[in-house]
């Protein structure tokens, strides 16, 4: 079992050697692929931007990232360097190999028009949301993934502590401009991202901003 305390580890990888660099605009989705052995760095360019991501096995979409298996595997809730993202079939999907932020969330889920009506006001329902982003990306890609596959996601750069009394808090982000998290793919995966457009709470500091992806090939 891995303790889940913050583990700040910088990456030895050099940006100029990355095979791909992708600027991901604020509030928009991305469906990308990683090959086994490739490394993905997600950079919080301006700070306090939640990157909501679900991973799927590229060769079997019935296998997906599982928040519950991941938490059970490491015996705790926070993700940081050394955390292994586990699938619903109990397989390692990705490993966090570097992290300059130190803590990422897997309990807070992704915002939706419907959950905004519950959390804030019924009249919020026409605002843009992560769940709309996910559905849009999946509809366009048409690779067999649908709403039923929108399982609990990872919120990179988000800080959602649980108290000993069992309360869930949305604390100020521990992220900042230029902080990053790096994941090595342990299998071929789909990466489904929503660069969170939530404006009703401080998860994006009320100002959604772009993130950047850098991808290195296996060495």
């Amino acid at each position: 079992m891995t303790a889940t305390a913050t583990r700040i580890v910088e990456s030895p990888l050099r940006a100029e050697l990355a095979a791909q660099r992708i600027r991901q605009p604020a509030g928009e989705p991305w469906l990308g692929e990683l090959k086994r052995g490739q490394t993905l760095r997600i950079v919080d360019l301006e700070g306090n931007q939640a990157a909501d991501i679900i991973f799927y096995n590229r060769n079997d979409i019935a296998e997906h990232y599982s928040a519950t298996d991941t938490m059970l595997h490491q015996g705790g809730i926070y993700l940081t360097t050394g955390s292994v993202l586990m699938s619903n079939d109990g397989n390692a999907m990705l490993t966090i190999v570097a992290d300059t932020c130190g803590r990422h969330d897997t309990l807070g889920g992704a915002c939706a028009a419907e959950s905004n009506t519950v959390r804030y006001a019924l009249q919020k329902k026409f605002m843009h949301s992560c769940r709309d982003n996910y559905l849009l990306a999946l509809q366009h890609a048409d690779v067999g993934l649908t709403k039923r596959d929108l399982v609990p996601n990872v919120n990179f750069f988000m800080n959602v502590p649980v108290t000993e009394d069992g309360d869930l808090k949305f604390d100020d982000g521990v992220s900042g401009p230029g902080k990053y998290v790096e994941l090595r793919a342990e299998m071929d995966v789909w990466v489904l991202l929503s660069n969170c457009p939530q404006l009703n709470n401080p998860c994006n500091a009320y100002n959604p901003t772009p993130v950047e992806f850098l991808i290195w090939d296996a060495t």
């Binding site: 938490m71 705790g76 419907e114 709403k147 039923r148 609990p152 808090k169």
Partner: protein
């Protein structure tokens, strides 16, 4: 039937429908004229029901240390299902008790917790799978043990949702009724082994027509060195839909809106 080693004989032809009123043993305070059905779930047992809006399921731990993993889907549209993160963040909680609602991904209350003697039920969704079960407890399979075989919570729920065409893609993070898992400052889990006493109870009121599936297999963080699934009493009764002055509606504004969103399907 109280356990898998105690399966009763077949009923006589003159009285062929064997539905003993077991609710009188563990929930005698419920109104007899409103009881729909009742049963005793043996440890490791699993089943599923389509529960109409305005009905309730009372669960009673018949032994200390019980666990009941529960998943919920809208009976009308099973693409709509219980969503752990949406429910937790809307109610700012990492535990469930009376007042909380179990919300779908569509912002509706599938069920409300209306009665609770425990104060803490585990929403973090851990589920015992068969591989882990065998590693932890050794193999106890049908060939040698017949119905006293070990059953995992994950396989139990997969069987139940499979009856409705749902697959492992559709198996959501469950609620573990009767179990308590707290989280320390470092984020580490701590399972509370003495949390549930014999006689503890919790009730779900269904705010929509709901497909509910359950397994009484042990919680995966249960430190017991032996497979010790506990039996649970279950009673379904007609409680009626949430009234305007409902406790859950008033518990938090988010609960009021989630139950409202469910009401909107029944205008």
């Amino acid at each position: 039937m109280d356990s898998f080693t105690d399966i009763p004989a077949n009923p006589p032809v003159s009285d062929p429908v064997d539905t003993p009123a077991v609710w009188k043993r563990f929930a005698p305070e419920l109104p007899a004229e409103k009881i729909m059905f009742s049963e005793i779930v043996p440890g490791g047992g699993h089943w599923s029901y389509l529960m109409p809006r305005g009905s309730a399921l009372r669960f009673v731990a018949l032994e200390a240390g019980a666990n009941l993993s529960v998943v919920l889907y809208s009976a009308r549209e099973k693409l709509e299902r219980y969503n752990m993160p949406d429910s937790l963040k809307a109610q700012h909680t990492a535990h469930y008790t009376r007042g909380h609602t179990l919300m779908s991904d569509m912002g509706r209350s599938l069920a409300s917790i209306t009665v609770d003697s425990l104060g803490w039920h585990d929403p973090l969704g851990a589920l015992l799978d068969t591989e882990t079960m065998r590693r932890k407890y050794g193999e106890q399979r049908f060939e040698a043990h017949r119905n006293a075989m070990h059953r995992s919570g994950k396989d139990g729920l997969l069987i139940e949702i499979g009856k409705y065409g749902l697959t492992k893609r559709d198996l959501v993070a469950p609620v573990n009724l009767f179990s308590k898992v707290s989280v320390d400052a470092e984020g580490r889990f701590a399972f509370a082994p003495d949390h549930c006493k014999a006689g503890d109870f919790v009730e779900l009121r269904f705010d929509m027509d709901v497909l509910v599936a359950y397994s009484s297999a042990p919680h995966p963080l249960d430190p017991s060195p032996t497979y010790a699934a506990k039996k649970i009493g279950l009673a379904a009764w007609r409680c009626g839909p949430a009234p305007a002055d409902d406790y859950n509606r008033r518990f938090r504004p988010e609960c009021a809106r989630a139950i409202h969103n469910a009401d909107m399907q029944y205008l």
